[in-house]
Amino acid sequence: MTEAPHALDNRQWIAKVLAAILPGLGLVFAVMAILGRLAGTTGDPRSLPAQALMWLTAVLWVFVLGTCFLFSTGRQAWAVLGGACAALWGCFLLLRLFLS
């Protein structure tokens, strides 16, 4: 196996993990918000859509935490996850505007 030109390392792991925890969680919640809005859930914890979304949120967050180390730098992790987080929350606000 040959080394890639910019070999990945863990030097900026704190920044990457923080990106997975903060904007990463925001991103996961945005996915939950959009799917919930599309499915028309009421958010009642006793209802099936709310429970399914809760599980999805947990699974996605673990996935984001597990893959954040693949970003080449901490800055990139924050840019991608933060950008995606902002973009998806923007989508959610638009969706709310159109669906209400």
Binding site: L8, D9, D44, W55, A58, G66, F69
Partner: protein, 473 residues
């Protein structure tokens, strides 16, 4: 399967650091969890038998209830008919001694009728040993209040998830070569590594379920709170629906309009054959109506709780009002979610599954132990290669803490279980907690202070210097 070597190195580092942060806590969680698969039988085994007459036949429950309501009017608000009395919950009817506070029912009073037909009431006296071990499992062995231990458990569960992802990534490229390799004679490193990989790979589905469910157990309330904010102002409560409850004429004051428990069981058996009810929990809702929540088992299906599935039943007719958590009667979506819970609790397929879960849980604990051993061995080799003749402080500390912690947990649980069986009357909450942590800390102290524990390090140093002399390796 090929994965870039730098990615492998990154995840190898992640795996070892995450493992070392969470390994010992997860060891306790898995060991105590394995014991908790039989929490109910262990609780019965360690609970002293109450001095009270045997439970009256179910058909005489209305007569018993009449007497209870006359002597304890507050029992009308909230009482449970016990269909399968045991040592932990003897008698035929139980109700909270104090008005219940949310989910916390506090001590229960239990009652039956004596041979002369007189009311016999006792306070339930459950030995705390089995429950303490369950709490060790939930709190990862840390003596913290629930409000702190819950998020701590969640963080450890996230680390555990991370360890699984990274572990799979680093094991994949050598999967075919190493899966069935088990090198006993080739030195301790290979042995621990092969054992670790073997346990990790073959119980991977079990571990994935445990990691995800634990994250959910820790963080479901905050996630539901976010959903409540986003989608509507529902209070964060996930108790089953009691929407349809029977309004009662206030003058009737209780039982007459309700189906007698024996008839209710017959009606329920017709509506849900194969479901074996264990308790009928009656409670009055805010509008004066009666609600009935039936708990019970059905080994053919997954159960939503650790030992039971639930149904909301009309107490006057025995008709099932809500089957969202009733095994075998759930809609597909709820049935799928129930499978996740049942896969955590091992509450499907009856006792055989529970024994299987004991094995899987203990295997999990062994895997975390081997993980720590691997970490220590790897650091020792690196330190010897760097020319250090003794362990560095972290390596030495962990080399001693790991066996001390594991021994302490196993010995602590053994001692309190044995004591609970031998002297059940002495075991109060404080005694159980005190004894467990005394044994646990003593074991850790013994391993930390034991003079000979560095022998392993010297042994390893000798072996590595020998292997240096042999260039063929």
């Amino acid at each position: 399967m090929k994965i870039r070597s730098d990615i492998l190195r990154v995840y190898r580092e992640v795996h070892s650091w995450v493992g070392i942060c969470a390994g010992l806590l997860l060891f306790v969680a898995f060991f105590a969890g394995a014991i908790s698969m039989f929490e109910q039988p262990l609780q019965n085994l360690t609970t002293p038998r109450l001095d009270m007459p045997a439970a009256v036949p179910l058909s005489r429950t209305p007569e018993l209830l009449d007497q209870i309501f006359r002597a304890y009017p507050q029992a009308r608000q909230n009482y449970t008919v016990v269909l399968a009395p045991d040592r932990s919950l003897p008698g035929r009817v139980a109700w909270p001694a104090r008005p219940p506070h949310g989910h916390d029912f506090g001590p229960l009073l239990v009652a039956t009728l004596g041979p002369d037909g007189a009311l016999a009431v006792r306070q339930q006296a459950v030995a705390p040993v089995a429950h303490f071990i369950d709490m060790l499992h939930q709190k990862l062995g840390l003596p913290l209040p629930q409000s702190i231990s819950r998020p701590v458990m969640g963080i450890v569960a996230l680390l555990y998830g991370l360890a699984l992802i990274s572990g799979v990534i680093i094991f994949l490229p050598t999967l075919v070569r190493n899966l069935f390799a088990f090198r006993v004679g080739e030195g301790s490193r290979k042995f621990w590594l092969d054992l670790h990989n073997l346990l990790g790979f073959f119980s991977l589905p079990f571990h994935i379920v445990m990691a995800l469910t634990s994250v959910v157990f820790a963080f479901h309330d905050p996630i539901f709170a976010v959903q409540g904010r986003l989608f509507g102002g529902h209070p964060a409560s996930h108790a089953p629906t009691h929407a349809a409850s029977r309004p009662l004429d206030p003058e009737q004051q209780g039982t007459p309009a309700l189906l007698a428990p024996a008839e209710l069981v017959v009606a329920l058996n017709k509506a849900a054959p194969g479901f074996i009810p264990t308790t009928l929990a009656y409670s009055r809702n805010g509008r004066g109506g009666m609600m009935l929540r039936v708990s019970g088992q059905d080994s053919r299906y997954s159960l939503r709780g650790p030992t039971a599935g639930f149904a909301t039943v009309d107490p006057a007719t025995g008709r099932i009002l809500s089957s969202e958590y009733l095994p075998g009667h759930q809609k597909a979506g709820f049935a799928i979610l129930t499978v996740f819970f049942a896969l955590h609790f091992g509450s499907f397929g009856g006792t055989a599954t529970r024994w299987g879960y004991v094995v899987l849980g203990l295997a999990g604990a062994v895997m975390f132990y081997t993980g720590n051993r691997l970490w220590v061995n790897a650091r020792r080799r690196r330190e010897r290669a760097a020319g250090l003749s003794r362990d560095s402080l972290p390596t030495g500390l962990l080399a001693r803490l790991t066996p001390g912690w594991a021994t302490g947990c196993v010995a602590g649980c053994t001692v309190i279980l044995t004591a609970g069986y031998a002297v059940p009357d002495r075991m109060t909450d404080d005694v159980v907690e005190g004894v467990y942590y005394a044994v646990f800390l003593t074991c850790i102290a013994i391993f930390l202070l034991k003079p000979g524990a560095a022998a392993g390090a010297q042994d390893l140093a000798q072996r590595s210097s020998q292997s240096l002399k042999k260039p063929s390796l």
